[in-house]
Symmetry: D2
Subunit: 453 residues, 4 copies
């Protein structure tokens, strides 16, 4: 039994602290300092990220200093020291850095498949690399800071959350994504009203979530919003090509999709567009790499002591602010609704009880409680999401066990992999490319000929 929790100055630990997003996180804490008494921020990174950690860490220190708040920023490569007695641990690391992402995107594209960071073959490999590290972190937290909450926004955030929920006895994880925040902001801007004038209900999986929306008088606006969204190219996250959904098909679903559903409902067009872009401009990872280098140049400026505007152009805007809001909601037992990744427990009837789902949840000091969603209104949603969850389970199992055949099965089940022949080829090429970061697949590396037949 862990000791009784009490209110006090908070120690926050950010793993992957050298990320370019860190300034948004720092800004988020600064602006909430009255309701959320953060006294220590520990930015943790690994040796390969030391330089970036120092650049962004020093910016963080300048930001805190300028804000005049009573908070110390620590930079460290010693994860265990950082975690010790933490109140909240956030994770925003990328195993293998952008170089690994570029491979995740390039190899599928070279084989005629979609190459994308969190979907299809690349998304599954991001999970394979990330999950063992998250499980290590959870192990540290259980030992060194058993009362801490783990706020994960390392992608694929839903699959990572599922891994922790299904392969550890640690329940205090919340997975967070910026898609629901984006969606709400888009809605508010289309109606030219404040976001608080709406009530949203999200239900689904991370990057595969649907939603409905109501006004404050209880009138449902979902169909009206769908009408309003047509031909508004500037909506949605920046990293997804904004091809229009089939208006009627979505309307028939009775709920609106997130940006990522395009990869499935517009599969051939998104693939064609992706292949074209890949040939012309290379991978998204390569583009992001340049943006990041520019950001770090900015961050080096010793006169800079606030989050630069340019950061908002990154695909992940709002992520860090949402994390700060979630931390505050837990700390203050706020009872607000946020869409997070958490254990289903029956909230979405069409998915397993212990599945991680992305769902509008009531945030308490004891964590998020999903508000009950029930059954999907349309068999189309139900079938597709059940397939996606099955695929996620296989990905998690392969990531944890390193079983090659389970990984192959995950590929066979992923709707963006059109068959096992090309699927197995891509699987093998990605395994070969990421050997350094996939120690659990040792048997594959030691017996390649056995697996490559």
């Amino acid at each position: 039994m862990s000791q009784k929790k009490e209110k006090k100055g908070l120690k926050i630990v950010t793993i992957g602290g050298g990320s370019s997003y860190t300034p948004e996180l720092i800004e988020g804490f600064i602006k909430r300092i009255k309701e959320l008494p953060v006294t220590e921020i520990w930015l943790v990174d690994i040796e390969e990220g030391r330089e970036k950690l120092e650049i962004v860490g020093n910016l963080a220190k300048r930001m805190v200093k300028k804000a005049g708040i009573d908070c110390e920023v620590h930079l460290t490569l010693d994860r265990r020291k950082a975690i010790k007695d933490a109140d909240f641990v956030t994770t925003q690391f990328r195993v293998g850095q952008l170089a690994a992402r570029i491979k995740d995107e390039r190899i599928p594209f070279e084989n005629g498949l979609l190459g994308q960071e969190t979907n299809g073959a690349g998304g599954m490999f991001k999970a394979f690399r990330t999950i063992p590290v998250i499980l290590d972190i959870v192990s540290d937290i259980k030992e060194l800071a058993p009362n801490a909450w783990l706020i994960n926004f390392t992608n694929p955030a839903g699959i990572v959350t599922q891994a922790v929920l299904n392969y550890t006895d640690f329940d205090k994880i919340v997975g967070l994504c910026n898609i629901p925040v984006h969606t709400q902001m888009d809605c508010a801007s289309l109606y030219e009203k404040d976001v608080t004038e709406f009530r949203f209900q999200f239900a689904g999986l991370n990057h595969f979530v649907w939603y409905r929306v109501w006004d404050k008088n209880g009138n449902e606006l979902t169909a009206d919003l769908w009408e309003k969204r047509q031909d508004k190219k500037n909506l949605g996250v920046k990293n997804i090509v904004s091809i229009n959904y089939d208006y009627d098909q979505i309307k028939d679903l009775g709920m609106l999709p997130c940006d990522y559903h395009r990869y499935y409902y517009l599969q051939d067009e998104m693939l064609k567009e992706g292949l074209k872009s890949f040939k012309e401009k290379g991978t998204r990872g390569e583009i992001v790499k340049k943006v990041e280098e520019e950001l770090f140049e900015l961050y080096k400026d010793e006169n800079l002591a606030e989050k630069p505007k340019q950061l908002e152009q990154r695909g992940g805007a709002y992520y860090s602010d949402a994390a700060c809001e979630l931390i505050s909601a837990i700390y203050n037992d706020k009872g607000i609704i946020m869409a997070v990744n958490t254990r289903n427990k029956g909230a979405v009837s069409d998915l397993p009880y212990d599945a991680a789902v992305e769902i509008s949840s009531y945030i308490t000091a004891d964590g998020p409680i999903p508000i009950t969603f029930g059954k999907f209104p349309n068999a189309g949603q139900r079938g597709y999401i059940q397939l996606m969850k099955a695929m996620e389970e296989l990905v998690v199992k392969a990531a944890v066990t390193g079983n090659y055949y389970t990984a192959l099965q995950a590929f066979a089940t992923n709707p963006l992999v059109p068959g096992t022949t090309v699927g197995r080829k891509v699987l093998n090429e990605l395994l070969d490319a990421h050997e350094k970061y996939l120690p659990q697949f040792r048997d594959y590396y030691e017996n390649r000929e056995k697996y490559r037949k």
Copy 2:
């Protein structure tokens, strides 16, 4: 498709407006007038209740006048006229008045069974009498005020809600009970803190609900509260004898029971105590009748223009205030948590999807959304509540169809009826006693010899 809902002055209709509880309701509206602009209150009753309606209705008028608010109180026997264009309809009627309750209690006791208003044989008959009337009211609302919400606190509130959810296509019903409010107040008083310092999670059925409690730092207090509640005889609703539960058995359950669980977990003691009290003092209905007569004497006083203190001594205290709070929460899309009776939709995994459950719900302008509870922590709760829900379904089906055999099956399934021999005898005697109010059981009345073998 109903018209778009907008904010405006509200018309409230109270069916069973001649109830002695009405002053609490009026007080509830008066004190919320700034957030809840009630401009019309229609108190409706039937011919048999005309006198009480006038007495309490005139008190209501005096209360409103004294408060100086812009609201008209109407008294009427014309239910349809009252319902026309209503915003909220509340129901607090008692079919057959207290005379019927007294029979519900007396006849079981005379046969050696528990005689109680909402549990056992009596509770089932209260449902048989009430459900046809509620279904009529729903039919009127659908025709005359399709945007209105029906707030039912006529007992058995859960079973009545189930009838509407399962036998009509009307979804805008919320069943309300004062037990959760009482429970929260008791907790606050034991800790000598404000009730807002706690977070409660209720899950179960009306009069068969369990709960857990946390402080604002996320520490669970359930076991501690159980310790604190020991030997505090003044807790709980006034109408239930306060015999102590087995401390260890409840602790093992992992959630705390409501007052009514005593009839089940302490079955023989409660029966013995009930029979003793019946012999010495007659039925609870007879006692209440006297209390009510005294209240109405008070209400007649033309100088009285507020809710008299004595009303709080009735078992149903807090009911009406909870109703006003619920109405305000819906009207204002408050997003607060209240324990209400609503459709399960998977919130309580151990109960059917379409069952009415009593559960902590997030209250929106579109009605309550249960917060997800999941599975009960203990097989003991699960098994018992599944039996209770099955019994409730049989009661609803018998009430709607008037099928004698279904009623007999409900008796055979009710844990407070120890077998079909005595059960059938009591069933027949109650049917005979309530003939006037049970038109749906026509076949029984026309063919008694067939059913009485």
Copy 3:
């Protein structure tokens, strides 16, 4: 309540009696005449099939005569007269004849999609045409022969069964496919043993069914059989290209797939192969047309009085014999196990209670009872089959309601349709091509411009 069933001479009705398969059916009855006293066989067809009905019907008469059994063969275009007092009705008709099938295959192929009779776009349209006719037949049976069993082997047999189970109150339908029979025969031939030396357990959907196998000592042979099946090109039904599955992926599944899973697990290869064959040889329907014409030439031979060997070369071999066996099993309360399409009722935990499933069932005089399968051993199977069932539900709903948007949703959900852009184009072209046979889609035909945006 229907009258009591008793043993007597049986009246069998075959709708689509002009089919080239009829001789196998007749042979099946002849060889079982001692256990199954068929005294009347009514072959029913429509005006367009009159010539074929007469040719094959006369062959049937010669076969029966040669066998010397006491059974009359009737040929008729009057379906209701035939159904009157029938004991078993079998259905093997094809709405729109082979010309419609050819369109189902050609149009998808012309748009770069798989063109196949029972899968993908073509399979969905076969359902759209067939379901309204089946519902009419069920309506006739309920009126004219309420004790009769409907044995459906019109494809897509599973979806057609689902339509009857979900949109009528008629329960006495069994859907039948030759795939499980084929599978069992293939196994027996690989082991060079009699088929009775094995016990099979099938579970899934029609044309999407998996199986395991045991010997009579209870040793599971599934993995061993998988090993044995490798590189045996002559296995499986004749109408599916026999590309090898990924050996390891299937082994990991823990159950063996049917031939049709290739369209999903080997999606790109099967599509490539299909397109190649289409370009070189035209559609499968066109090939079958020639085979049929040759068969009917044979059937015309007045000296022919038995099923010609050539019939076994058709893809549907064993179908009719399986139907006779099923009829005998019901009539004789045999208690044998057959894989049929019937209501799930929980037998396959991962599919809805009321879904039609293809499952090993215990055959009684009261129909098939699925033997309990439980959960699929692998998430890969679970997810895929849940998607397929959702798609089937949408197909049935679109077929019954004629709702264009539901049809579009079915296309969006079908894994063989790679997105809504091409999907909607193919949907429209197929609707246009089949106008004569799709009266339920009236609104589309009257308002094409509305739907074609």
Copy 4:
């Protein structure tokens, strides 16, 4: 992975071999010797049963010798030696012998509760004593005879099966009861037909099972059989008082109950009758003790070489023959239907997936497969059986863990225990009475004062 199973001479082990039922078992093997080549029968007992083992064992030897079959009968107190390489292990032992049963019956009766061998307080204690021993036996089987099947007919057979299914990874257990056999025989005798002329479907829990029945033409006879059973006092097992059920209530259920449902549906009458009989004649256990002593006197007769007629007067008639039939059905992969206790796996929708259920099952060489039952037709059945299963889970958990509070919860949940006050008293008295056989409740015995408050 266990070795491959093959047909060969069989070694049968019977634990509790000194039971008076053993001659029926031996007879069962003798009459099936052609289909079931039993070559070794090992009768195992403990020191306390040595004398009975020798008496009945010698009778068994004489029976085998007289039959002239090639089979050796071994008598031993060495359980592990017996189990080594066994093919089938049957269990019919009684922990604490009849003396323990007498306490299970006497103590509840003395406290005004039903005292019965397998129901209520006594039944729960029989489970507490038996389960640890069964788990030991399973452990031995896994080590010494991993291919063996365990056929358990030690009561409470369903709860014991549940313990093995939920607390070990051993799946090869089948629980067997004579109630379904009895029921089928009663039906056949009422219709004066052979039992093979009927098809039965049983579903429920051991000693809480319902059934339906059909003739060979598929006509359901359930209601007709219920009519026929009225006032036939000589039906049912011998050990249950044959008070008539309420005819109408059972008819409304849509399925017929077993004899044991009387304890629940006729609770007060059965209790009254039980208390009367207890006062007049003592416990059932005491009566059985005398019957057994008489049987053993018979068995001693060296001229006796067959099962004596008098054995059929014992309540457990048909048990052993059913066991032989089950063993033969498994050995021969018979594919017959028998009602056994096995894992639910969704067969009964209203019960948990992993629950032990008593259900008509298809018997294969790989064990029983439940035939799918679906949902109970009546909420009355559903609710009651869900309560019973919850109670069984608590009993199993208490038996395995020795947790006093779990045992108390089981008592609180058992419908035959009317409340925790008397329940706890009886629990304590039974714990005290059975100390010798309940080592798992060590903490209670060492800290009685703590538990007795």
